[in-house]
Amino acid sequence: MSLLELAKKTVDRAVKEGAYQAEVKVYSLREALTRYTKNVIHQNVASQDYGVSLKVVVERNKVGMTSVNSLEEEAIQEGLRRALKIAKVSKPDPDFKTLPEPKAITPLRGIYYKETAEYTPEEMAEGVKRVIETAKDYDKNVRWSAGSFTTTVVGLAITNSLGVEAESKHTVASLEVITKAGPTGQEGSGYRVKRSRNVKEIDPGAVALDAARDAVESMNPKRIPLGEYEAVLRPEAVSTFLGFLGRLGFSARVYQEERSFLRGKMGTQLFDEKLTIWDNGRDLRTLTPSAFDGEGVPKRGLMLVNGGVPENLCYDTYTALKEGKESTGHAIMRFGRAFFIDMPLPVNQVVSPGDASMDELVEETKRGVLITRFWYVNPIRWDLAVISGMTSDGIWLIENGEIKHASQQMRFTDSVLRALGNIDAIGDESTVEKTTNGTTPAIKVHRFRFTGHTEF
């Protein structure tokens, strides 16, 4: 029985057993990971997970949810029984109106690659070996490399009693490389990651070379004074900002709870006019495109920021109907044991590129820093989108358009709105990368505040 047939059968049973409405999601998740550090493989794993999530509604707005990690009929039946029991003892939720009505879903090609699904542990180990050897051969100062090579294969089916039927399978592969160079105390660190739905598009040697170059070039870091700097953000650093734009601003749930930094700011020039962000789950330039969202609602394009002006929020069915609107197709897909995220989010953001090469972004910087990525970032003030975290891996001081030397890592505390409200330039197509929060070029911001030193 296919995942979709199983989902449909379970929905039918839920209705027969008294559910006013029912939604069933069935997933299968196959993950393989080869993890390495200090030039050896230390963790090599594979797992096959699957499960069924059930949401039932009784008496129009009493909702119960269960999940089981089994495709066995008996386990699913038990899950259904519990869901109905939970819904019956639940209190009415006045904001729940209905599950989504069915809409035509145009299938999306190019999201599943057999090459990724059939990649073997031996091929992954060979890829890791190539990373390690390429980095070592690059320069005598390279000490070691670490990271992971992963492949993921997801099958998903979503149905509901109103007629929604959605099914897909997709693949993702990722190779992450951290390379360390130079002696302790003067150590440089390079970080590069390549993600693709097709593992064959990942060239371990090329990723390793970039990480090794950054490691060597970031050796002998010096402490630079705290304060404000211009900042050239590589795509992985921009990705952190994109993640917080969704969580602290563009999610309708946060907006409805009056915590969003967008309250009273929609339609205003909140960001720099050079910034345009589009979210489109069907855009194959993003890492995990999909024809439908976590409720089986078709994905479509949504302009989030147009020339610096925030235009739209992201809705799922629940938040949309609360305002008498239609879902924008941003219900999150949840499967496996991921952290529980309970809000609609833009997960396929695309930042429009500008026309500056990476070299030009550096050349246009009078006194600033080049940042590879951020680490352990959390919000301090939601209403102002103030966040704090660390820089990670290569960071360099730029003076008068030239990289002067590597810097020690620093803590920043600043507002995403302030940073993206003052953009000097946006990188061109050559700087664009697929990240977990969206597809983005490098961005140079006019000011960015560093508030703390560390010791490396």
């Binding site: 993890r35 794993v45 949810m65 542990p121 915590r259 970032v377 003030r381 890592q409 803590r411």
Partner: protein, 474 residues
């Protein structure tokens, strides 16, 4: 069957772990049930050492055919690992054990009627609203979990465990003139039955939180860029322990095997027995035997008995949290018993148990009374720390300025920052009363990501001369 097959396929060591995991979450938002969910998962994971290298595979399908295929996959993966391995894996010795362990439970939290739980949560919601005229959103939840594990090793250990967890939390968000503020409260998560919930008056905690939330709306912002004495207690102090010494003393980080996700640690092996991590008042232990702690169990996922080990003694770094492999790698005779996985499909990692700051000699009240100028902070709002566990920054929901031994005024959006060994080196008072183990249910680590339950015992503590108010001018 699985262990025999692994041996036949060339494994010099193997273990197999079967798990059934049942969880129930009841959450009420703005007085209405938002999430009533119940999940049951089972499965197994197999670890093998073949040709000196590790392989791991797991599956949800607990059938003989699936066990065979999964063992074969683990062996295949181990052989692939050997392509770039560091040589023969060695494991520190551990006794062969045949035993069972169960959390002491008076009332099964998974069998408590939903109606009873909903009543508690709705009462807490009403209590918050009763005391707050600016409330916008409230959430209240109670969670329960049962984990049944069976671990068998090729060395002969056979261990059954039944661990039960429960606790809850609530929060209210208030808003005035566009300024949101939040106060939260807990039913401390513990390994215990539903009696843990029954001991707490959640509505009363909600009322207290609402009064503080309203006060925050009238409070001025925490002074910026000052140095002052910081007083911490409760669950927030638990998180400070968690992020600094907790993660910092995990031996896998020290040895570099978490560098690509969770980072490393500055507590390198050369510092053991010499490095001053805290003042002489500071003693940290990793204690998986502590009654009721969220990181309490009978045996870890390698079958190593639960232990209490010193990490920091009178301020000096003396130990690490370890596994059988990492312990052997640094020449220790035995593992600290810290290997745990959050799912049968995940590989066990070095995880915190209960990382406790042992009590001192002060009375809690005296710590405030004998502070000339300082700030008391509570309720975690923001946390961040660097890759080596040195530079940290935390923000809390509420702060109280202290002047001449008395609480002077409430301040909002307080933050503080520091370097972890300087911070713990500046501790000059730890209370003997009020010592509690606070549970954290969301400790993330590993790839694929794992979420672990851990505990942190602590009592009110004063830290001298801390940098406070780092949001600066915004």
């Amino acid at each position: 069957m699985g262990l025999e097959l692994a041996s036949k396929l060339g494994a010099t060591y193997a273990d197999i772990r079967f798990v059934e995991d049942e969880r129930r979450i009841v959450r009420v938002k703005n007085g209405s049930p938002e999430r009533l969910s119940h999940s049951i998962g089972s499965g197994f994971g197999v670890r093998v050492i073949v040709e000196g290298s590790w392989g791991f595979a797991g599956s949800r399908d607990v059938t003989p055919d699936s066990v065979r295929k999964t063992v074969e996959m683990a062996v295949k993966i181990a052989r692939a690992s050997a392509l770039k391995s560091r040589g023969e894996v060695r494991l520190a010795d551990t006794p062969v054990v045949r035993d069972t362990y169960e959390t002491r439970v008076r009332k099964d939290p998974l069998k408590v009627p939903l109606e009873e739980i909903l009543d508690i949560l709705i009462s807490a919601d009403e209590a918050f609203r009763e005391k707050s005229s600016h409330v916008r959103t409230t959430t209240n939840s109670i969670e329960a979990r049962r984990e049944e594990k069976y671990i068998a090793t090729s060395e002969g250990s056979r261990i059954r465990q039944r661990i039960v967890y429960c606790g809850g939390s609530g929060q209210g968000i208030v808003l005035k003139n566009g300024l949101p503020q939040r106060r939260s409260y807990q039913i401390n998560f513990r390994t215990m039955g539903y009696e843990n919930v029954e001991e707490v008056d959640l509505a009363e905690r909600a009322r207290e939180a609402a009064v503080e939330a309203e006060a925050l709306l009238e409070a001025r912002t925490c002074p910026t860029e000052i140095r002052t004495d910081l007083i911490l207690d409760g669950a927030h102090l638990g998180l400070q322990i968690h992020e600094t010494i907790g993660h910092g003393s995990e031996l896998d980080r020290v040895l570099g095997t978490e560098v690509d996700l969770a980072g490393m640690s500055f507590l390198t092996l050369d510092k053991r027995g010499k490095f001053r991590y805290g003042s002489e008042l500071v003693n940290f232990v990793a204690d998986a035997t502590a009654e009721g702690g969220l990181g309490t169990f009978g045996y870890d996922d390698e079958g190593v008995p639960a232990k209490k080990v010193y990490l920091v003694k009178e301020g000096i770094l003396v130990g690490y949290q370890s596994s059988r492999e990492t312990a052997a790698e640094i020449g220790d005779e035995e593992s600290s018993g810290a290997m745990r996985a959050d799912s049968p499909l995940h590989l066990p990692l070095v995880r915190m148990t209960n990382i406790n700051l042992l009590p001192g000699n002060w009375k809690s009240d005296e710590i405030i009374e004998e502070t000339r100028e300082g700030i008391l902070m509570r309720g975690t709002k923001m946390w961040s720390i660097d890759q080596m566990r040195l530079n940290f920054q935390f923000g809390t929901e509420i702060g109280w300025l202290i002047k001449n031994g008395e609480i002077a005024e409430v301040v909002r959006d307080p933050t503080y920052t520091g370097i972890s060994y300087e911070f713990w080196g500046s501790v000059d008072a730890i209370a003997k009363d009020g010592w509690t183990i606070y549970g954290i249910t969301g400790c993330g680590k590993g790839k694929p990501g794992q979420v672990m339950y851990v505990g942190h015992g602590c009592s009110r503590t004063r830290i001298k001369n801390v940098r406070v108010g780092v949001t600066g001018r915004l």
